[in-house]
Symmetry: C2
Amino acid sequence: MPRLKLTLAYEGTRYAGWQMQARAGQPGASAPCTVQGTLESCLSRIVGRRVPVHGAGRTDAGVHAEGQVCHMDLPEDAGRIDWKQALNMLLPYDIRIIRAEWVAADFHARSSACKKRYAYSLWMDRDKALPRIAPFVWSVPRLELAAMLPALPLLTGRRDFASFQNSGTLRASTIRSLHSIELRPGLLGPLACPEDWPVATLFFEGDGFLKQMVRNLSGLLVWIAQEKIKAEGIPAILAAKDRRALPSPSAPAQGLSLLEVMYERP
Amino acid sequence: MPRLKLTLAYEGTRYAGWQMQARAGQPGASAPCTVQGTLESCLSRIVGRRVPVHGAGRTDAGVHAEGQVCHMDLPEDAGRIDWKQALNMLLPYDIRIIRAEWVAADFHARSSACKKRYAYSLWMDRDKALPRIAPFVWSVPRLELAAMLPALPLLTGRRDFASFQNSGTLRASTIRSLHSIELRPGLLGPLACPEDWPVATLFFEGDGFLKQMVRNLSGLLVWIAQEKIKAEGIPAILAAKDRRALPSPSAPAQGLSLLEVMYERP
């Protein structure tokens, strides 16, 4: 069966994340609306049966994506259809297919991925963010952004990030390579905002990310910029290999966006 | 009692417009969520009783605002409160107070207004708009924007706009001065988008607007840009003074935003 790779953007505000979580003990609870579920239901309207969709990774409830990737196997005659256009006709306004490509049968959205990029945006003013950007930023007044800078090299590199992993997913290894964390003024992505706006974005690039790792890293960096904790405390937090050693809370979902999933082969 | 003037921005997506409409014959229907109602409920939490809010004008369900204006009378001791900050703490993310000013007792948000500006944004591509801007544009592929230009002088000036008024509100006069209609590339307001994006915005400035007048004007201009009707047909549409003489449908709510309400005195 031909395998299709989709690259998609979504605003996560209305969704319970990418993937439906199994909810033990709640058999009667109605299924929350997920991005994967919405996409599968559009695919089934075209194909006439359920088509399982495999994502590059879960995004939490409320997290956005500029470049989430997924793949699916379609019927032999699927080549007749312009999938990008057909799906965009059916999908709601807050999910959009950016690219649709045929890939080899051994391509897998999750296991073939070699790098991912995330962005976390901060609104740094006592005044609330304007409604058009409020769903995409975390409002944290009075940040000393420069205090973050010495923390960045202490968090990048090949390290055991067990202290930055929320419970819930069992991983064989919690070692990951975090290639870079960059702090830049402004919003992420193609939309620009005026230079004097109190907005900054953290960009994370790595070979893989643990559950809520980016939100835990962002939460710690905000605490450092609020001068609640010093960058010198980071080695001890990492060495503890335990989420309870991390004093700062996870940054809220709405500031986070999955920017890009990278593959060796295009 | 001291009178407060508020300037506010909102994303209209989740709201049944600015003002709750009386719904005859539906006494049991639950009240839809409106911007005015949300603001009044925040005010009553601070003041301890209902505070009626008077808006500069209604915006329809789904219409946005960058600069809606309203006023209200507050208790004598209200000067002790930072109203902008207090309300922004209580309001949901999609409504934000931009300015709060004390005004004279004869200031009235609606009747003191001398000019208003609206913007209507168009996404001109077969591809869907990105999720971050989709709630703010009308997607209309294949527009010949240049065809709109000869229509603009035929619609501006002091005219009877009865053909551009939807039924529902009785007006003593349907004559209004539409000072200008401008067509510019890009989105409205402070957010910029890349220059090669297929986005354009119509800006309307006038001394007053009839019910759905901007959406009816935008709908006609889009029909002209789609070459479904010629600009030369405009004088006959105006002369008919009847909405049924206008062949094009109203442009949908989500592309519209109330940019600014202007007053003689600041």
